[in-house]
Subunit: 352 residues, 2 copies
């Protein structure tokens, strides 16, 4: 039976990516060798890394002032790498927007290296909206925000104009919508939503902002060092990088970010309409901040929960449970999820 | 034509691992979903991580005082994590053995956090042997060594008795030979030689040694935190962990480390015998320190180099060039390399 995969991440990727990456494990580029057994410095893999770096700049329409890295350790390691690279050794001071568990995780790491000012937070209201009307001036080394919050289903629809460096964790909505990416000085994203499998993290950084903190940075945590080695300071996560490249090539071939955004808006509009229409369901968060990626909702009549759960499972739906910290349901509509899967879910919601 | 893959890493893995991991990308456990699109907290993946941790302790015959982690960032991140976790904040002092480029990399990271005493080094002689006759007393927070040096083809045949914590980078010979693993307090290894594909690093650590430095450690760099989350502090590198588990299961099914060692000794003996016998070739390093994993040699008559290169390429041999820093040749004989491949290489060497 066909599965409809609403998993919050790692999540659905294009079927073509599964097929191509599985084939590469059996025989890479007709070389007679598996992708898993070749040197990362071989003539077969170096072009993979080069193209994986180049395609990101094409898709984001960024110029040569930006560098692209593929690193290990996940966004959680970036929580530490950002302050190590951007927060001054003496009198370091950064502004953070607190929009949920992941933003809090980033704040915790920055506080280990300097002073953090939380210039906006929706924590007291269970992170059900995106704080607005704050500013960040040049007294801060940088400003950090999280563009999409998977657990609560909130998303920043616009980004503030700040008078300092602009850093954004885009792990859960990167490549899902058009925007002016040049408004950011540093973007990072764990690959395992819209851009690839788990095990690699994308970093897009403006070169000129680096090397100004006076810190002695652990080598693996030093963006400049990774840049100087073309993202091959050490053996990169070969398979995750390759599968990410395939995912981004699929995106580029199918109309790029603009086409993905159009599809994502259609999927989200359909599902939110049903949640708002159907008295058995209600959304979690402020309407204006609703995420296009993670649609979080609850059931209003707990006595019908069992029937609902049985119905969506019977329909081949997977990964609809909400995060354990908030409960309810979460339908993640990442780039690769077809509109058809959303329609199946809505049919189940209507059938109750 | 059949390939004979002597690549120094990422390197050959059992053919069965390629087949099983490719199949899991198309359909994992008959779930109708790809291994790449399932949650790392799903009922399908949690047992993978649990078994990947458990099998390491079985293979190494280690007890409950040890914990096993699968982390991102490679051994290069471990170079920093070791001192962050073991070197005292005040008056930190560690002893390192310098046996090559990787050991030097580890030393560099430790020096960022405290004082390092290099208690043995073969640097002046091009790292062509393993230093001996040194001691490390309780004045050091820990002693660090590198068990095998891929670039020069040297390997520690025995380990010193030290009066401090014993840390070993086993990236390039882990699971290749039997030893008393309980003599180590911390072992780490990038997976991409004997135990899996690139993108994940194994850490085996004695719990009781952690939490004693007085340091405020970045979360991702904190072994204790990873242990408290069962190696799922954040999304782990799902595919590399799974392929590593398959590789270790293959090892266990085929007689474990003892059987692998026997095969590795046979392969190395055969190849070193030919190098010693054939006047056209000579080894790089001290005989007593010759590695079972990486056999480094040079050609004594440069005018025959072109013919030799053409001959091994024609025989389907891959990855025989020496590291760019030393030149010559390097035949890596990792666990998965069949004896047959070594025989093919020797046939080529004899044919010149």
């Amino acid at each position: 039976m066909k599965k409809h995969n609403f998993s919050a991440g790692p999540c659905i990727l294009p079927q073509e990516v599964f097929e191509q990456s599985a084939a590469a494990i059996l025989d890479f580029n007709g070389s007679g060798l598996s992708l898993l057994e070749i040197s990362h410095r071989s003539k077969d893999f170096v072009p993979v890394m080069e193209e994986a770096r180049a395609i990101v700049k094409r898709l984001m329409k960024l110029g040569d002032e930006y560098e692209v890295l593929y690193l290990g350790g996940g966004a959680s390691l970036q929580f530490a790498m950002v302050p190590f690279n951007l927060m001054k050794q003496n009198g370091g001071h950064a502004a953070y927007l607190d929009t949920g568990v992941w933003a809090s995780g980033a704040i915790k790491e920055a506080e280990k290296l300097g002073k953090v000012n939380i210039i906006g937070s929706s924590k007291a209201e269970g992170y059900t909206y995106i704080p607005k009307n704050y500013t960040a001036g040049p007294e801060y080394d940088y400003f950090h925000c999280t563009s999409n919050n998977t657990i609560y289903g909130t998303q920043m629809k616009t980004f503030p104009k700040v008078d300092t460096l602009m850093v954004c964790d885009m792990s859960s909505d990167i490549f899902s919508r058009e925007m002016d990416f040049s408004q950011f000085d540093l973007i990072y994203a764990g690959a395992q939503k819209n851009m690839g499998p788990a095990g690699v993290t994308l970093v897009v950084v403006k070169k000129e902002i680096l090397g100004k903190t006076g810190r002695n940075i652990p080598s693996y945590l030093d963006y400049s060092l990774h840049i100087s080695k073309d993202s091959m300071l050490n053996t990169p996560p070969v398979f995750p990088v390759y599968a990410s490249l395939l995912t981004l090539q699929h995106l580029e071939k199918n109309g790029g970010i603009a086409a993905a955004e159009e599809k994502n808006m259609a999927k989200a509009a359909l599902l939110y309409r049903e949640i708002d229409r159907n008295p058995l369901f209600e959304g979690f968060c402020a309407e204006e901040d609703r995420s296009l990626m993670n649609v979080c909702f609850k059931i209003t009549d707990e006595t019908r929960k069992e029937a609902f759960d049985a119905a969506w499972k019977a329909a081949g739906i997977n990964g609809l449970n909400g995060h354990r910290s908030v409960g309810g349901y979460r339908a993640s509509l990442y780039n690769a999820l077809p509109l058809e899967s959303v329609k199946i879910l809505i049919d189940v919601m209507k059938s109750l």
